[in-house]
């Protein structure tokens, strides 16, 4: 009996993220759990994941056996160390196999489309993390530099003896890149791969030579470099504390000179505001002071040109009068009235 129309055989029972949540999930995936920072990504990370993708992602099986994938560098012993388990009695690797060679000259990346960039490699705020030290609530600012783009070119070669094997590998590669690009999650970062070209290096033209197929796939990785050593974590400004240092002698008390020309009496009214206990006056006239009235003052010290004097005293032109007081109540105003006769 056939299924009724519009019958759905595959139901998604786990919700899939969309929109903002999906983008946030990508960011969360990039972040290194527990550190609030993204994971770094360097050359070896990209190489490692590319090898892993070819080995386990493409996963070529020929003749019932998994085809070995060998990443090659120039060190001879390393090459032998990677191939000995797949070698024959003459210690030669047995066909079929896949080799990966990364071109040793990574190029300036093209995933910014060649646009110019901010010089100086500044760091940018990636995240603000609240902190609490028991007294002050604050933030730590996590900053990272802009990633440096890089293009890595990998040469993937299949060595085999049969056209059928070529077809299988070709099918897997073309399927993987059917969307034009293939994304790898390298340390959580989505990095695209582009299939640049497919070539043939088969050794089949010389009759008196061993024949085998070599199919070359040139794959470009549009990656970027993000070095964890360049990450910065700095505390944000949590509280501004302003310090005011005051010196009592630095400001002198306000004063008013009242002259009574009819009887030659001169009165100086001095007003010591809270925090001011000092008075200074350059003398312009010759005056003999005979009387002083205090308010809110416990002690006072009068100096003329630096010499302490007591009432009565006389000042002449160019003298400097200095009065230092001690208040009874420092939070209140204090007053002195000096009275003298103009000579």
């Amino acid at each position: 009996m056939g299924l009724p129309k519009n019958y759905r055989k595959n139901l998604k029972i786990t919700p899939t993220l969309e929109g903002f949540e999906a983008r946030q999930a990508i960011l969360n995936n990039i972040a290194n759990p527990g550190t609030y920072l993204p994971k770094g990504i360097l050359h070896e990370d990209m190489d490692r994941d590319f090898i892993d993708y070819v080995t386990n992602g493409i996963d070529l099986v020929l003749g019932g056996e998994k085809v070995p994938v060998i990443f090659l560098s120039i060190q001879r012993w390393a090459e032998f160390a990677k191939t000995w388990q797949f070698s024959d009695v003459n210690k030669n690797i047995k066909i079929p196999f896949v080799t990966i060679v990364r071109k040793p000259d990574p190029q300036v990346g093209t995933n910014y489309a060649g646009a110019f960039n901010i010089p100086g490699k500044p760091t940018f705020t990636y995240m603000k993390i609240p902190t609490w030290d028991g007294n002050i609530k604050s933030f730590d600012i996590y900053q990272i530099p802009q990633p440096v783009s890089i293009d890595l070119t990998y040469e993937l070669r299949l060595f085999c003896n049969k056209m059928r094997d070529l077809n299988k590998f070709n099918k897997k590669l073309l399927e993987a890149f059917s969307a034009g690009q293939k994304y790898l999650r390298i340390n959580g970062h989505p990095i695209p791969l582009m299939l640049d070209s497919i070539g043939d290096e088969s050794v089949i033209s010389n009759l008196d030579e061993r024949k085998y197929y070599v199919q070359l796939y040139t794959i470009k990785m549009l990656g970027y470099l993000l070095d964890e050593d360049e990450f910065k974590v700095t505390p944000a400004i949590s509280r501004g504390i302003l310090f005011f240092e005051t010196e009592e002698n630095s400001n002198t008390a306000a004063y008013q000179i009242v002259s009574e020309p009819d009887n030659n009496i001169i009165t100086i009214n001095i007003h010591f505001k809270p925090g001011i206990n000092f008075f200074k006056l350059p003398v312009k006239k010759n005056v003999s002071y005979t009387d002083m009235i205090n308010y809110n003052i416990s002690t006072s010290d009068i100096k003329i040109n630096g010499i302490t004097v007591t009432l009565p005293f006389t000042v002449v032109d160019n003298d400097l009068v200095e009065i230092t007081i001690t208040k009874v109540d420092v939070t209140e105003n204090a007053y002195i009235t000096l009275k003298g006769i103009n000579e």
């Binding site: 060998i70 001879r76 690797i93 070669r157």
Partner: protein, 173 residues
């Protein structure tokens, strides 16, 4: 074209006859088979019996069927091994056997009732336990040139060229 009508060969008959030719061959075979006695193992592929795919006509290493292996006495010559690399950048080096070039008397093949064809496999026992396989890239079936005759009388031996083969292609016995 082979014909049933026999044409007498009378070339250089003033100095050389069929009897001389046979005698020379006997001397040579006595030296090669009696004194030198280097043998290779011939695996004649059963082309009709081997399993192949419909499109490419290729067979897996265990799908190639062959007649009973035959020991063939040959005038053996193996070239030196080549130090090569699979990749153009020099990585994945391998040491490849040199080609085998051997001469074999046509009479010897006729007596064994075997034929060496393009693509047949040749086993060469390097040691008591190590058998290396080659495939025939030139079966030398045309052997009427001067080098393969005695005084231009008739061809009497063939030069076979074999190139190394992969274990993935043929694994023999």
């Amino acid at each position: 074209m082979k014909t049933n009508r026999k044409i007498p060969i009378t070339r250089v008959n003033k100095f050389f006859s069929q009897d001389d030719f046979d005698l020379e061959k006997e001397f040579g075979r006595e030296w090669l088979e009696g004194d030198i006695n280097i043998k290779v193992i011939l695996f004649q592929v059963e082309r009709g019996e081997s399993t192949t795919d419909d499109v490419y006509g290729e067979a897996d290493r265990d799908e190639i069927r062959f007649k009973a292996p035959v020991e063939v006495v040959v005038n053996f010559n193996m070239a030196g091994p080549d130090n090569k690399a699979y990749n153009p950048d020099g990585s994945l080096r391998f040491l490849e056997h040199g080609n085998i070039t051997f001469g074999v008397y046509q009479d010897h093949l006729d007596e064994l009732k075997v034929e060496i064809n393009y693509g047949d496999y040749i086993g060469y026992p390097e040691t008591e336990t190590k058998l290396k396989y080659f495939t025939v890239s030139n079966n030398g079936i045309i052997h009427s040139d001067n080098a393969h005759t005695i005084l231009g009388f008739k061809g009497f031996y063939r030069t076979i060229i074999c190139v190394p083969t992969d274990p993935d292609e043929f694994q023999g016995v």
